[in-house]
Symmetry: D2
């Protein structure tokens, strides 16, 4: 394989740069050339690319986001668009493609695979909602960002006897909410996978209050309700002063944690090794601490199992 | 002076614990006893207090918030309430009081002073809106919290060619907004003291965009407009994808910075030294790197000068 | 089981408090009493203990070290000492014991098990050198501490064209060195498990230098050589200005990462559930993301497998 | 003034990039061209330079070190070398020079000034040992790095009843040691300006120990003694287990704090404004919160006043 392409697509996350760097250096080490497409599939369509050298990827490992940038491409969703992408890859002599991104991006990778492009996907999504990998890129950094902010807010909550409803990311997945609830000692986690009984929540807070514990942190996954509504309910039910903080895009960025730097480095390395070994149409993942590879067509139709046990643990320890 | 009281009042901030610790140790070093009132003036009224020892204030220096807690007290706003507070202090044998807080708290301290209680105030307010001190407690930590979050958001903004409107605290003061705009290289700061010309803002963003710089950070002081409105305006005017993040209470807490630990330590020490030297009815402050003391009645009627020069600098460097 | 004891022993690490808190709350939730012994086995021998309540373990989750403290006990290494420990447990009515610590501490736990005490161990060791768990408590936080420091040092190294030899912990294990080398993009990792060829190292640095890359980071596990010697060798061989930093005890402490807070919470919960289910003489561990339990007598005679693949990856990416 | 040069010299520190960025943007805003010399005076001699544009200085504000790099130049210490430097500046059409660095660098700037080059200096030195500025660039970030590490080490110290001697930078200046001692609640600071009475130190530690406080942190400025000697003395005198950590180059780098980003931005802006206003041979500084300018010949012969009061405060609060 003489030339390999790399792109990042969908929502950015910390660790993408580690994967880009590692894939690039691994390919260069095998004597292959590397090109990076800017802004995901859009760059592939526009021919917006970058010759990737050892130097080009120096000094990016510890930076958040993706220096190749990311974007949505409407054109790539069309058959014509995809055909154009394949032509561009052929014209450029790119014989293998590494796609780093979430669900939508991996679907795009599968489409290219079906059109004959050797492609390997790398799962990157702070929601940790991609099947066939224990952890996706960006999750650990997002969690560490969250607990940093929640620790700060707890200082205020405990100084003032206040409840806080803190909204974290996770439209369909409560992973970030459950994990950060355990990790910050929050009193309650509200997640999309489990119906929240507001009356029960208020009862617990009232009981705590009667025991003299008069501040509380409730972590809410964004897909599980509106923070202000929940705060209003708490206020109405038990008269507790309740504030709302929506952590928002702060969660995505920042210097990647060790875990995401290692994971990105391993994913990038494995993706290129897979391509060089003739594999294609797969996603690399983390399975029991080892790197595994699963056909993209299996990945994109599978739903990630919920970790009920961990949500329950968050409730046991919150008491 | 045989017994000194300490309380924290109003919004909590990082560095309050340093001031409590320092005041306590200074007083103990002079052979005085120290009591801490819990939850500000409310604790003074309820007799909710704590014997302060060297041990009691060990291990609090690096923690955000205030371990004496803070709260509002409606009762203390009444004449009867204040008379009760004075009686309590007399009954407890408290001969001097250190009040740590913002504008409202210092007004309370002045009231007690006028009723004959020897009291020294310590300015604590993340908005930096208290006159007669260059910096109030908590400002530097809040700023460092803000830039940590904004640096994270910039990773995302630059990965996606997006504009972000980031709301920081500051109802009447643009200090946090202007300073964090300079410190993060934000493109624009919107502050209460200076009318914001949205058309001008949009023109600048459009001009940047035409030069190929397609992401932008706008820092908004909470008192200077609604973040979502401004984002909508930008979107309408130049079609730029614009997201909003409201940093909220995250700004208040967290391990205090060096500056706030030093400032709190110096303020706490100076406040007790003032009391022991027979001073009263004053607020200690930072004036040109030295500790100064100003009559509370002067402080509470003065407005902190705006730092126009620094807001302008934020605009010059944002270009 | 009516009463459960908890102790931390050996070198402290971040995440121990999470384990203590979780074990305590789990036991209390099952209606059992909990006592904490201070300073490890020494406290067990002296009867230095603490009644553990929900309150007692509030506010410790995010703090480094162990609030139960740790210490070595010569007395506990003797048969008489251990017999005394068993008697104390019986006198106190402690029917199950949770021991949190490294190799030596788990050996102590095994000894108590053999004397009839129902005991469950929790692996805690920043070196990650304990078999039958993918990760020990404290490793992830230590790694994050290390990369924070190395990122700082890289700023200086790249500002000055200097090489740095940075010594990290790991007497017999290169885990921290290899992982932090990957995670920081270091040029070289020197570990006890693999003989270091200084000539080869110098050749690589010289080659880099000739390509114009004139700064370098070498991560050294403490058990793999003396940092100053290696720096002197580099200086002599290629005339490169080379500085040494020994990270030391800074690596141990600090606010635990998400990973260690979750791991500690899960370990503490599982250890108590094991005891309540009648299990004994085992160590809980993390196996493929799930909690597993292995007999202590198996654990203490096993050596943790090296991760050769990851050391190699550190070398591939360092180029 | 049509063209302005910038260089960073001597030991790097956080905030230098903010100063470079601000000076560049200010000059460009006035229609002047800007060149950056790489590796300090060495780059000036070799003609190793960089055209500075708005883009070139984008994305550097939050990064430690100096992207223009720094180095020592033996050649520049000679008269011939300096004459060459002046010729180079003339040949390039550089009409004004901004020099960012410490004592040695400012001496170099003075030499150029005396040879007719319009030059303005910016004080940068983590030791805070430059006169005529309340704070030099890099000090605040270094202090925040130090307290981050010391907070971590305190976790270990308090888990184990140990004393730690922690060496911080400061060959002739105890500023970092005294300030970080106050900010971390250390028990003792040993600084070059005040003779340390080891017997007194040991007595204090013994007294603490007898009161049951059995861990201690001693902060040592590197110029005030050898850490291991002091640890050995403590061990010999009171049998206290005492460990040593030398923080080393970790202190220099890292993302600059708000304070250093603001200070660098203000210094860079002011330096260029001074040049454009026809000023020369001066150093800008921070005087009572305002920017001041002092002749370089005054600066380099002056010694920065010690802050005895703050060292005493560190001792009062350490008790």
């Amino acid at each position: 394989m003489k030339k390999i392409g790399i792109l990042t697509s969908g929502g950015d996350c910390s660790g993408m740069n580690a994967a880009i760097r590692s894939a690039t250096r691994t390919a260069l080490g095998h004597g292959a050339q590397v090109v990076g497409f800017r802004k995901g599939y859009a760059g592939l369509l526009k021919g917006d690319l970058l010759e990737m050298t050892t130097r080009e990827v120096a000094g990016i490992l510890h930076r958040g986001g993706t220096f190749l940038q990311s974007a949505r491409s409407e054109e790539f969703r069309t058959v014509l668009g995809r055909e154009k992408a394949v032509r561009h890859l052929q014209d450029l002599g790119v014989e293998g493609l590494v796609v780093i991104g979430g669900d939508g991006s991996l679907n795009g990778a599968l489409a290219l695979h079906r059109m004959g492009v050797p492609v390997i996907g790398i799962p990157a999504s702070i929601d940790n909602d991609i099947a066939y990998t224990d952890m996706a890129l960006g999750v650990d950094t997002a969690l560490n960002n969250i607990i940093y902010a929640v620790d700060c807010i707890k200082d205020t909550a405990s100084s003032h006897d206040r409840a806080f409803v803190i909204e974290v990311m996770g439209r369909n997945s409560g992973y970030l909410a459950s994990m950060s609830a355990i990790a910050t000692g929050a009193e309650y986690a509200i997640i999309p996978e489990v119906e929240c009984d507001i009356a029960d929540l208020c009862n617990q807070l009232r009981k705590r209050y009667e025991e003299g514990r008069s501040n509380a942190i409730i972590i809410l996954a964004e897909g599980a309700g509106r923070a202000q509504n929940i705060a209003d309910n708490i206020k109405d039910a038990i008269g507790f002063e309740t504030r709302v903080t929506v952590l928002g895009h702060y969660q995505r960025g920042g210097a990647p944690s060790v875990f995401d730097r290692l994971l990105g480095s391993r994913f990038g390395h494995a993706a290129v090794e897979q391509l060089l070994a003739g594999e294609k149409g797969k996603m690399v993942g983390l399975c029991c601490g080892e790197i595994c590879a699963t056909p993209l067509e299996t990945v994109v139709v599978s739903e990630k199992m919920q970790q009920d046990e961990l949500h329950e643990l968050s409730m046991i320890l919150g008491i």
